[in-house]
Amino acid sequence: MALLTLQELNIDFPDKNVVRDVSLELDHGTTLGIIGESGSGKSLSGLACLGLLPPTARASGSICFNGEELIGMPAARLRRLRGCHIAMVFQDAGTALTPWSSIGTQLIEPLCDHLGLRRSEAKRRAVAMLEEVRLPDPKSALSRYPHEFSGGQRQRILLAIALAAEPELLIADEPTTALDVTVQAQILELLATLQRERGLALLFISHDLAVINQIAEQAVVMDAGQVVERGSVRSLFHTPRHPSTRTLMRSIADRSTARTAQHTDDSAHQPTVLSVSGLSAGYPKPRNGKRVLHGIDLQLRRSEIVALVGESGSGKSTLARVLLQLIPARTGELQLLGEALVAPHAGSHRRQRARVQMIFQDPYASLNPRLCIAETLAEPIRFHGLANTEKELAVRVAELLEAVELDPNIGSRYPHAFSGGQRQRIAIARALATEPELLIADEPVSALDVSTQCAILALLTKIVHDRQMAMLLISHDLDMVRGMAQRTAVIYRGELVEQADTRVLFASPRHEHTRQLLAASPSLPAPL
């Protein structure tokens, strides 16, 4: 008998049905992936297995665990199953731990509650658990607080908490999405090891096919609340049958291949837009007494996209801030179109600021919710005096919206009326409003669904070429960079350790860290 059986599971909110007729089976000690875009109902299906749906949601159908029906089970009995037999780890390890309780308290809690252990015994178990998830110095970790750990370490702690009472089933909902590639690789490996050693059944939910490919053989594809297709990850990727699986797999493949055509563009003869040499920068109170950036040399030409890749904390965003003149450079030279970048408040600073614009990661947070789209776009135009009359301004705003392939008549609406992809288009239009020479895009698509990502990346590429701008693309996503950038620079601990033509860098990485990044990056399924 299967450990977990979902039969015609339906989840309804008062106004709509979000999960429809989902059926799946999971055996003892096996792994099943669930892949789908946001809103496909994959997370809710996972939460339903723990009886943790939001209060307004209602589940119907059947969720059978170890021969027991979970839907309609009394709350007290369900609570005993939770943690003890079924455990779950969540996406954002940064917020998933109670900030004011020590790690020890949070780990010991389920042990005392479920297994009835005494505190001293529970403490011994907790240390053993932390050792098992390979957290450094597990004894002293017990008395420390979540904010004292890195993202990867917190995810390890969450795993330890989930596995402490030795459950048979672990549901992992995007457990590595918020992590760097190298850390992601470590966590995935840890999950696989724990799964093998403990004979866990693992339900692995993710939007990322490559990640699922690392951990599961079998997967189901969810779309709009339904399971549309199931099978081995390889056959799902290479021979998808259902139309929506086909669309999804095509966009996944497109991310790394479709735009490689423009690599043939010869930008070597184009004039230099940005030239950085010997740059170092840091914050007033340096962490570990170190400067964040040192010895940065970088050139960007017209119509060129240069990728900057590195782990979190490597200095990517700091470099972006220096280029935007938000923080000053300590040493080195910065030139924009042959003109030295000046400090804020100097005479020509305002004009220079118009020439460098930024596109941020999260379009849900980067647009002011109280300004309508036209106001958001008009503000920089007005500030930099780029339109003389109100009529001219309105024309400029409409042009910008057309440039990002949006209906020019949406100006009176507010950000909340738009989807993530549309918002990112608006954010791009905002960046273009001052007619910049250099665009800095900091993880421009990582908050978006795969199918939307492709469209936004294609739009960015088109804009850079049509307007002959330069773009610095900051990302940790090597797959995306490969399809997008002519050149790639790898930043590691504040230094550019390697810089080369993207194809060359991916084919024959020279620096040790580049090799690590490439090895850690999860790969798509091998051909059948």
Binding site: L52, C84, L97, E109, K285
Partner: protein, 309 residues
């Protein structure tokens, strides 16, 4: 932590100096003086009085002399209560005011946190709406209206409780406590409700529930501190407000605290009395805000970390 506290104490010095300076020149700039009254004094007597209190000297010299005395902890003599020092007036009334404020605070904390938790347990239910409506009325109701109303109902119609005094009759402390504490109860209830509702939506509450611990334990071990953090931050200003805002309640219930001296001092242009009170309350406010910050740091380890940097 020690570095943080000393830094904050140092920061308080310019704040207090600004308060002293502003108050000094403002009270002196107000029309009239301490010896103006219905009964006209002879110019000679007034001259002597002014000379006695050094009011005939230039303002700048008075200011320097006042600061000098202040540094030695002397708030000067009262102009309207001959022979009494401001320090003595403060010390005499303070215990009653502090007692009243403490009871009011205790009442506000117990009822406020209780009401906030009850309301937040079932958001948008009847228990939530009724509690929050009561809280809104509590915030809106001024104490000069609430006090007499309570007196009317409980003191006169029902004849359950004494209508005035402090510590003379059994139960005479109840009505002043409620009158003073009501607005703060309501405010704390709203803060506590909002804090708990926010925390209950946090990811770590979902993690706690996924562990399968009881809902009681989720609330007590994981959510409660989040609900108390905004309350803790409000405590500093609340205590200062309770102490300095007690004069209306003291007047309504005829309690001999320091509040009424403040009002009388201002009406009588009793310069030193107004200054002394203001400086005393300003110091209190600064200290209490510091205490509230320390309390927040104790509740939330993340704030502790910020101090260290």
């Amino acid at each position: 932590m020690i570095a943080f506290i000393s830094w904050r104490v140092l920061q308080a010095i310019p704040v207090l100096l600004a308060v002293v300076t502003a108050t000094f020149f403002l009270v002196h700039a107000a029309p009239g003086g301490p010896f103006d009254s219905e009964r006209q004094l002879s110019p000679q007597v007034e001259q002597q009085l002014k000379a006695h209190y050094h009011l005939d000297q230039p303002l700048s010299r008075q200011y320097v002399a006042y600061l000098g005395a202040l540094l030695q902890g002397d708030l000067g003599p009262s102009f309207r209560y001959p022979g009494r020092r401001i320090n003595d007036i403060l010390l005499q009334g303070l215990p009653k005011t502090i007692e009243l404020a403490s009871y009011a605070l205790l009442f506000a904390l117990l009822c406020g946190i209780g009401a906030g938790l009850i309301a937040a347990r079932r958001p948008n239910s009847a228990q939530d709406r009724i509690t929050m409506a009561a809280a809104m009325i509590g915030i809106c109701m001024p104490s000069f209206l609430l006090g007499p109303l309570l007196v009317l109902v409980f003191g006169i119609y029902l004849d359950w409780l004494p209508v005035t005094g402090w510590g003379q009759l059994p139960g005479d402390k109840i009505l002043p406590t409620i009158t003073l504490g009501a607005a703060y109860t309501a405010y704390i209830a709203r803060l506590c409700r909002a804090g708990l509702l926010e925390v209950m939506n946090a990811d770590f509450i979902r993690t706690a529930r996924a562990k399968g611990i009881s809902e009681q334990a989720v609330l007590r071990r994981h959510a409660l501190r989040g609900a108390l953090l905004p309350v803790a931050a409000f405590l500093g200003p609340a205590i200062a407000g309770l102490l300095s805002g007690s004069f209306i309640v003291e007047t309504v219930f005829q309690i001999p605290g320091i509040g009424r001296f403040y009002i009388q001092g201002a009406f009588n242009r009793d310069y030193t009395l107004v200054m002394g009170m203001t400086i005393f309350f300003a110091t209190l406010l600064v200290l209490l805000n510091l205490l509230a910050d320390i309390l927040s740091a104790w509740l939330d380890p993340r704030i502790r970390m910020e101090y260290r940097q």
